[in-house]
């Protein structure tokens, strides 16, 4: 099938280019959600928006604790570092170092997801409590789903790594999962900033 010169081209492989294009489409998906959030927030008379008396009577209040998510942010950033460590190790041909990097990244990712689920249980508003609740759960929910997808990706790569499938020359899946992991990390930093920090 390599008859017509495709395989001889320089630079990144077809799979890597395809993966980067896929990531570009993911960026646009989150771009759409973020745009909705910014428009809603710019239009609101106050942020968080005012509640109805019924909502207040039900005990709804639109407030976010910063401490736990801040720790989660640190965990996710750290996992990005360990993921990159895994890539650097396999680039040097060190399978053991790569495995440690993958294990730790996967564990940190799962801790992040658990912390986010726990955080959800501590909130006093739901998705139907004003545009604030809707945007909060939509943005963090879709991000969480992507973290879960990324963790699954790393898990598959880890299983393959345990099977000794990666070498210094051939470790594309490790690089791809690392890029995906950095992507969800960057999205989270943006989310944390706009949802929790900017008042």
């Amino acid at each position: 099938m390599a008859a017509h010169g495709a395989a001889e081209r320089q630079g990144m492989t077809n799979s890597m280019l395809g993966f980067i294009l896929f990531l570009a489409s993911e960026v646009m998906f989150f771009g759409g959600l973020f745009a909705a959030y910014f428009i809603a927030r710019a239009d609101a008379p106050a942020w968080p928006p005012p509640l109805t008396p019924e909502q207040i009577a039900e005990g709804v209040h639109l407030e976010l604790e910063v401490l736990l998510p801040a720790i989660s942010t640190g965990i996710l950033v750290l996992s990005s570092v360990t993921m990159q460590y895994a890539v650097w190790q396999i680039q040097k041909g060190n399978q053991g170092g790569m495995l440690w990097g993958l294990f730790i990244s996967l564990a940190l990712g799962i801790v992040f997801l658990a912390a986010q689920l726990y955080d959800y249980t501590q909130l006093h508003f739901r998705a139907d409590d004003t545009i604030y609740g809707t945007t909060f759960y939509t943005l963090t929910g879709f991000h969480g789903a992507h973290v879960a997808g990324g963790a699954l990706f790393i898990a598959v790569v880890t299983v393959r790594a345990l099977g000794g499938q990666f070498t210094a020359e051939n470790h594309e899946a490790v690089e791809a999962s690392s890029m995906y992991w950095h992507f969800v990390d960057v999205v989270w930093i943006a989310l944390f900033t706009v949802l929790y920090i900017i008042k």
Partner: protein, 537 residues
């Protein structure tokens, strides 16, 4: 560059049906795309005939109001999401690897996935007709709050469109990698066939715009099912937000629906004018320009909302007429002084240029903000979109089918029936859609099921309905030509038209591996060079 010898395996062969279901061959998938999309073209066409029958006379009660809403919504949804957008993926699948001299797409299995997401989505969307509350009936634009008020058919529609969007997003990535990295030796980007260029820009638009539609649909789904407040002003949401995110996709989507058609026309005109495409690079840059500007004009669908910056979006909409005008001159310049013949593909290509020109002019006309305020949501807009999408895209689809039929199926469609098809369709199209300009200027709103006798719209509506049925009749000679072609043996030579591009350098139809050998590529017309290579340039 010799092809790797393919060993002839003896023994087990998959049954033909399984072979079609399990194939990852770009040519077979391309044919599946074409069958699938033409089926939904027929379905959407039948729905259009129901719409036109209802509107033929004043105070009509042929279908009820609720049924009418479902019918026009599903007509547009079928035509846009299940016909026009994937039909280009069909042509692209079949032609892009052949035109760039590759053996297949970059990711054949992802290619199969892209196709096989379509049938479930189509079934899901149309299954709305059998559920409580009927199919989606909020218009293909699904504006809130209208889209919040309808039955479960709307949710099925949302999921179907998300799945179709995923199909076209991963398909787009596949096309891009294929064209960036699998071109034959010697084929630089600026020697790539013009159809490939239009597919490349289309794929970029799909890759970057479709996910935004997915985000919008997800928000709509959350609003409908989980108490979300995105589009509900009571909870701080904003109905215009939907229009912004929806049109941010759907305006680029308009170019997704037309650019490959322009590419097909730009393949046909040079071949039957016996000249190279006039201004190849200008055409490429105009295509890129349309793609880029396409992202900055979405709010011209929203002038009357009062919440968009009118001068900016009006100006940008005029601007997008410039690269479009460049293309009209590309086509006219190609014809100018050419040695022109008029086989059926050429007739459809010229039909495209003339009808698309009208669609471009009446579109630019509505770009003027004060004019748009008068014409918004009238039949003038319906006339415009049909001049670009039917007069444009559908004419290009049939032009492409007649042009590549010998390559894809190894047989020629009957010329006389083809010409009859073209004449009936061209006349029927204009009779159906030209009166809509007058109806719109007369104030007839779109998407109404019933109008009063006293409105004075009946004569033009009756005329339009007659045109619609004439379009339907025009499909009869086409179908007869197809049946006649399939009753004949495969007798077509490699290059029946004296084409320019690499797909004509292999047999008709091509073998599984596409090429035994490739001619050298030293221009954008390698086959012309191969025929006339020893003559002085």
């Amino acid at each position: 560059m010799a092809t790797v010898a393919v060993p002839q395996l003896s023994g087990y062969h998959r049954p033909a049906v399984l072979d079609w279901i399990m194939t990852v061959d770009h040519k077979k998938l391309g044919i599946l795309y074409l069958y699938f999309t033409l089926f939904f073209f027929a379905v959407g066409g039948i729905l259009a005939l129901l719409v036109r029958t209802q509107l033929a006379v004043a105070d009509n009660s042929f279908v009820g109001n609720d049924a009418y809403n479902q019918i026009f919504t599903m007509h547009a949804s079928a035509m846009l999401f299940l016909f026009i957008i994937p039909v280009w993926a069909g042509f692209g699948n079949y032609l892009v690897p052949l035109q760039i001299g590759a053996a297949d797409m970059a990711f054949p299995r992802i290619n199969a996935l892209s196709f096989w997401m379509l049938p479930p989505a189509g079934i899901l969307m149309f299954a709305g007709f059998i559920v409580d509350g009927g199919a989606a009936d909020g218009g293909w634009t699904a504006y809130s709050p209208l889209a919040q008020q309808t039955g479960v058919g709307m949710d099925m529609w949302i999921i179907a469109v998300i799945v179709l969007g995923m199909s076209s997003t991963i398909g787009a990535a596949n096309f891009l990698v294929t064209m960036f990295r699998m071109r034959a030796p010697g084929m630089t980007m600026f020697r790539m066939p013009i159809f490939c260029w239009t597919m490349l820009v289309t794929a970029l638009l799909q890759l970057l715009a479709t996910p935004v539609l997915a985000a919008a649909l997800v928000m709509l789904f959350i609003d409908r099912n989980y108490g979300g407040q995105f589009f509900d002003p009571n909870g701080g949401g904003n109905v215009v937000l939907w229009q912004n995110v929806f049109w941010f996709y759907s305006h680029p989507a308009v170019y997704i629906m037309i650019l490959p058609g322009m590419g097909i026309v730009s393949e046909i005109l040079p071949v039957f004018s016996r000249k190279p495409l006039f201004g190849y690079k200008a055409f490429v840059f105009a295509t890129i320009g349309i793609g880029g500007l396409g992202f900055s004009v979405w709010a011209h669908h929203m002038f009357t909302t009062g919440s968009v910056l009118l001068p900016f979006f009006g100006f940008m909409t005029f601007m997008i007429g410039v690269p479009t005008g460049v293309k009209i001159f590309n086509w006219l310049g190609t014809l100018w002084g050419g040695s022109i013949s008029f086989p059926t593909p050429m007739l459809f290509a010229i039909g495209f240029v003339s009808m698309f020109l009208i669609g471009g002019i009446n579109g630019t006309y509505s770009a003027a903000v004060p004019v748009d305020f008068a014409l918004h949501d009238t039949y003038f807009v319906v006339a415009h979109i049909h001049y670009v999408l039917f007069g444009g895209s559908v004419f290009a689809v049939f032009g492409g089918l007649y042009y590549w039929f010998p390559k894809i199926w190894g047989r020629q469609l009957n010329e006389r029936l083809g010409k009859l098809h073209f004449v009936l369709m061209f006349v029927g199209f204009n009779v159906a859609f030209f009166p809509m300009h007058m109806l719109g200027l007369d104030g007839m709103p779109r998407r109404i099921a019933v109008y009063a006798d006293s409105a004075g719209w009946e004569a033009l509506n009756m005329l339009s309905t007659g045109g619609a049925f004439l379009i339907a009749v025009s499909m009869i000679p086409f179908l007869i030509a197809v049946v006649m072609a399939f009753m004949r043996p495969k007798d077509q030579p490699d290059d029946p038209w004296e084409g320019n591009t690499l797909e004509w350098a292999t047999t008709s139809p091509p073998p599984d591996y596409n090429f035994d050998s490739l001619p050298p590529v030293r221009s954008e017309r390698p086959l012309f060079d191969a025929r006339h290579g020893d003559e002085a340039h």
